[in-house]
Each structure stands twice: as structure tokens, then as C-alpha cells.
């Protein structure tokens, strides 16, 4: 696994920081918990909604709000799979790869998506529209194979539906009343296309990207064909 090594003395661009509105929203969680540190996950969720990912500067800012060392924030960010340390696309596709989905075609679904989007796991399309990742059980095994596009769960996805699904502009819209508790304040949204241009569509593996040895990119498939 390769880590992006950042020297804090010579580090140049730490990425975007969080806005005052985001700070304000994070502070709104303080009275829910007896310690400030417990606001970590809500703070990171809101930060990621606002910035598109959790930048190094954002980690520092969150640390400042929660009164913890920045390394503690990095510690948490790197542990959880939902936090991205490099920019992602507007829509993140999470495909389930656990047993029920795999038995009913989950593995083929990932391969088809990789081919259609031209990207690998934890990568983003050049136009900044889609990022792809696989997830362990999404708890919708009765509708296997399933995948999520941002918040929207797509159930019983068939390969021949994929084109239509990817082209649908509403493929991540929930048809239900939403709670904005964990949203970025005021619907703050990053410019995903600019992020993708700036950083390229393929970043170095980040802290929470998985080891090549452990993903679907293994040589298992190739060995089988030969």
C-alpha cells in the first residue's frame, strides 16, 4: 500500500479548507455529545459533503473545531471507507460485493462498470461525473445484486440496465423527504468537474484505498481464463 507522504514543513497545497457555514453547522452538534471529539464523524460527513472529499486542510480545520490534534482526524479518516482523501466525482457508485450479490452477479457488475466508465476502483472519470468503489454488504441482499449511487439504492441491477441507469440524471435522487442533518449547509457543493481537472482522474492510492492485492483487480480472473 502506498501512502501519500506529506511533510508538514514543506507541504504546499493542502487543498480547500472548510467554510464558516460548515464550522457553524459542526458546532451545532456539540450539545448532542458530552465530548467535542464525538462530533468527529458528523463533522467529517458534513465536510465531505461540502468539499467533495476530506482535504488535509479540512482535517486541520476539523481538528481545530474539535480541539484535537490533526493527526487524530487523519487517524479517523483513514479508518473509515466512506471518507475520501482525494477528490471524487459528483456521483459515487458503490457496488456491493458480498456473498449474496456475488452469487447473483455482483462481480460481473463491477467489471461492466469499470469497462463502461473506463476507471478502476477509487478512481474518477475525467469529467468528474462518476467515481467507483466496491462495498461490503449494503444490507439489501434480498434485492441482489445491488449498488448505490450516492444516496440512492439501486436494486436487482441487471447488466443490460446499466447504460440507462448511468445516463439517467436523477439516478442519485431520493424520492422521499430528506433530512439535511448531515448535509452541507445551504446545499454547498464543490465543483466536481474542476476538481477532476485539477487533480486528474487517477490519483495515487490514498490512505483508505485498498491494497491491489486485496481487490477485484487480482489476477484471479486472468488465471481462470488462461
Amino acid at each position: 500500500m502506498a501512502w501519500n507522504v506529506v511533510d508538514r514543513n514543506t507541504a504546499g497545497d493542502l487543498g480547500p479548507g472548510i467554510s464558516d457555514a460548515v464550522r457553524q453547522k459542526i458546532r451545532g452538534f456539540f450539545d448532542r455529545y458530552p465530548t467535542r471529539r464525538a462530533v468527529m464523524l458528523p463533522a467529517l460527513h458534513i465536510t465531505q459533503e461540502a468539499l467533495g472529499y476530506v482535504s488535509l486542510q479540512a482535517m486541520r480545520d476539523v481538528a481545530e473545531e474539535l480541539e484535537v490534534p490533526p493527526s487524530d482526524v487523519l487517524d479517523v479518516v483513514s479508518f473509515y471507507t466512506h471518507f475520501w482523501t482525494h477528490p471524487r466525482g459528483e456521483k459515487t457508485i458503490m457496488v456491493c460485493r458480498s456473498l449474496s450479490c456475488e452469487l447473483l452477479g455482483g462481480r460481473e457488475l463491477v467489471e461492466a462498470l469499470k469497462e463502461k466508465l473506463g476507471i478502476g476502483e477509487h478512481e474518477t472519470t475525467p469529467d468528474g461525473r462518476f467515481s467507483l468503489m466496491t462495498e461490503e454488504c449494503l444490507a439489501a441482499c434480498d434485492h441482489a445484486p445491488c449498488m448505490m449511487i450516492n444516496e440512492k439504492m439501486h436494486k436487482c441491477v441487471r447488466l443490460d440496465q446499466l447504460d440507462q441507469l448511468l445516463d439517467d440524471p436523477d439516478n442519485d435522487r431520493l424520492d422521499m423527504p430528506r433530512s439535511d442533518l448531515y448535509d452541507a449547509p445551504g446545499g454547498e457543493k464543490p465543483d466536481y468537474a474542476a476538481l477532476a481537472r485539477q487533480h486528474g482522474h487517477h490519483d495515487e492510492p490514498a490512505a483508505n484505498a485498498e491494497d491491489d492485492d486485496l481487490g477485484y483487480t487480482s489476477d484471479v480472473g486472468e488465471m481462470k481464463d488462461s
Binding site: R37, Y80, L214
Partner: protein, 478 residues
Amino acid sequence: MPYEQILMRNVGVKNSQSLKVYQQAGGYASAEKALKMSVEDLVEFVKGGNVRGRGGAGFPAGIKWGFLPKERETTYLCVNADESEPPTFCNRVLMEHDPHMMLEGILIAGYATRTNVAYIYMRGEFTEQFHIVQKAVEQAYEAGYFGTNILGSGYDLECYVHRGAGAYVCGEETGLIESLEGKRGWPRIKPPFPAIAGAFGKPTVVNNVETLAVLPHIIERGLDWWNGLGTANSKGTKMYCISGPVNRPGCYEAPLGISTRELIYGEDFGQGMRDGMKVKACSPGGLSMGFLRGDLFPENPSKGEVDLTSDYDELDCILDFDDVRRYDLLGLGTAAAVVVAEDTDIRRVLTNVCRFYALESCGQCTQCREGTAWMYKIAQRIEAGAGRSFDLDLIEEVTKNMGMMPGMSICGLPDGAAWPIRTLVQKFRAEFEQHLAAQAPNAAAERIIATNPAAYDLPVLQGRALQPSGGTYLVPKD
């Protein structure tokens, strides 16, 4: 005959998530009744129902509450809605269709444990469910079921939804507590148990969503009704999940004690396999509990007795808290079954299971972090048709040296990894051996040369290659 739907009574009802519909079905009446009881009576009452935890371990909820120290100021209640065990989805169904049932359970459990703050720890993948539950919590606050002086009883309870961010290990109760505190979800060394020092160092109770959801019904209908359901040591009703290539995958409620066969083939449950296929394997209790042999194997001639040494059909396993152990399963777990059909390569199942634990191990204890990744590598090479003759024994060896039972780990994740992997290798050994025998003679050696030539060139391995018994997978170069 269909079983009475109790927890799932509102599934399929229009607007079942709303407070109004829940109240029309008699909702929150039990909470009102409970708030009039004394705390001690309520705890005794729940103990009388022997409500065993629905989250996996099967520990009785009333006894768990009883561990709280008598003298305490602050208590926290954590609701474990981090349903990450594949292939379990009963909590999702419950929260999606009837969030108020869980909230009423929280109110009752909160009162019984003298809690003033309850956190619903919900996994990050639950997005629609988060919006539903958050909305329901807001409704409950408005109706006065949370907040101060609830229903005039003088009891205060705040309820917050806390979202996780994708980590299986946060379903372990101390992992959940660590994550709630804003740290990485590393399980804690016990003791002290959460009941003594849990969230924020205070006495804490962690209960599963379904465990809480049954509380209102026990109070409403009484202990006699509850104890009349289920088997000797497993009382009450349970939401069973069935998924995989069955005709009707889904979540179905039944009293504890149906058999695996009924869950797969029953008219009220899975309604049999797709295309009339046979069952090769079935994991009846969530992945971590282990695998059963399916009806692809011959029937056991001595009915009622379990013979683990022969490849017999094991679908007669009763899904309650006790019978599963006779079949070398870890426990009932979440009672979520996944079925593997006869046309599925068992090696692919093994790789999938091993990958899950290799990726979800939190990395704290060495034998789990290294053992799960090691087994994943072994499974990958077996699937690639490059297995080594001793690989199956090696996997068994590794599984026997990880987990809490041999006293090697902090939490139960490695036990949960060892069981499915070991039962797969043991119970389906014949098939694995067939695959190994059918491999190209030098496949294992070629794979290691192709994937890791440096390792092949290691002098120590070259030395082993000279010994026929030592390096069975190595061939001398030229």
C-alpha cells in the same frame, strides 16, 4: 400456515413510517404502560421473557441491563443499527417500514436502564433509512415521546441519530462505542464491560434494533404469550432473512425454531430454489456463523443425529439459539441465510468470505489482521487453480489459532472469520480436493514464479525445493 406478523405487521401498509399509522395500530401504548411501572419491575419483567439479543451473540437483554452498577449518575443507551453482517437486512426492513417500533423500544429500554441520552448508531450505508429514522425521531419529539418529562412521568430522554462511515467492526459493541466517541472503531479490551465503563467512560447498554423492537410487544401482550412462542431456550419471534438464488428472497417473521429447510423451501419463506436447483451450501445465521451442507448431499440415515464427519444433508438444522451448535455453527447469529446453489464453484464462495474478513479486520490484533489476509491469499490461489496440496490443512490450522475462543483477540471478529472459513473447508473438502487434483501439475509453481519471482528465488525456498516433503509447490528451475 402463515405465522402471525408481529414485528412486520406494518410492512406493506401505506405510510407505515408515520407516527399516525403506528399509533393507529396501538403504538406507544406499551411505552406508556412501561413508564408507569417501576424500573425494577420493568427489568424483572424483561428478564422473565428471556429476551435474547437479536444482534448475533444472543445474550439476554434483561441480564445485560442488570449488569449496570446500582449507583450511577449517567447512563447511555446505544442502539446498534450498524447492520453490516452479510447477508442480514432485517434491521433495514424494520427501520424502513416501522421506525417508531424501534423508537418505542428505545423509550422502554431507556427507562429501564435510567438512561437520559440514547444514540442510534446507524451504518453509513443506510441513507434512505437514515432519513426515515431521523424524520421519525423528529415526529416522536413533537409528540412528546422524547424530550423532558415524557408523558408526564418525569422521565427525560434525548435520542440522537449518529451515522457511521463504513466499518464492519463498528457493529461490535465496544467498537461501536469507540466510533461514537469519534475514534477509529477499534474494539476495547474487556473487562471493563460497557455496562461498567462504556461510552464516554460511563455505564452503557448496547442493544440491537430488533431486540428493542420486540419490547413493546412483550409489554403489550404479556409474558405468557411471548414464552409460548419459540423453543425451550429461545423464546419469541424472529425476523429471518433469506437471500441468494431462491425464488422469493426476503425477510420473513416466524417464531424461533423453524428449520433451515423450511426457510429455503417453505411456502411462507424462500419458496425453493431458482430453476429447481439443489442447495450446495447454506450459511443460516449470517456469514460469521458458518456453513451447512445442503440437500445436494445424501440424507443422513440416522435421523435426529448429527454426523459431521460424513457429507450428509444438514438442512434440518433448527434455527434457534441452541440447535445450531450441534452442526458446528458458532451460534444463531442474525438468522440471515444465504444459499449457495449446486452450480456455484465453492472456491468462489471461499474467496468471497475470506476477502470480506481480510478487508474488514480492524487491524488491532495480529492473528486476525494477518490471519484473515493470509487466508484470503490462500483462497485466491486455490480459486486461480494454483492451490497447493497443503493449503486446506493450512487454512484449518490458521482458523484454529485466531479469535476470542483460543484467547487470542480482543473482539469476536476473528471467531466470526474462522467459523465460516473452517466449516467451508471441512464440510466441502471433497470438492476442494477435486479441484486441487484437477489442477495443471505445475500450476502452483508457475503462479508463484509469475506473481512473485523474488520469493521464488529466495535461497531458503530453493533449499526447501530440494526436499520432496517440504516444498511440494516448488519445482527446480530447469
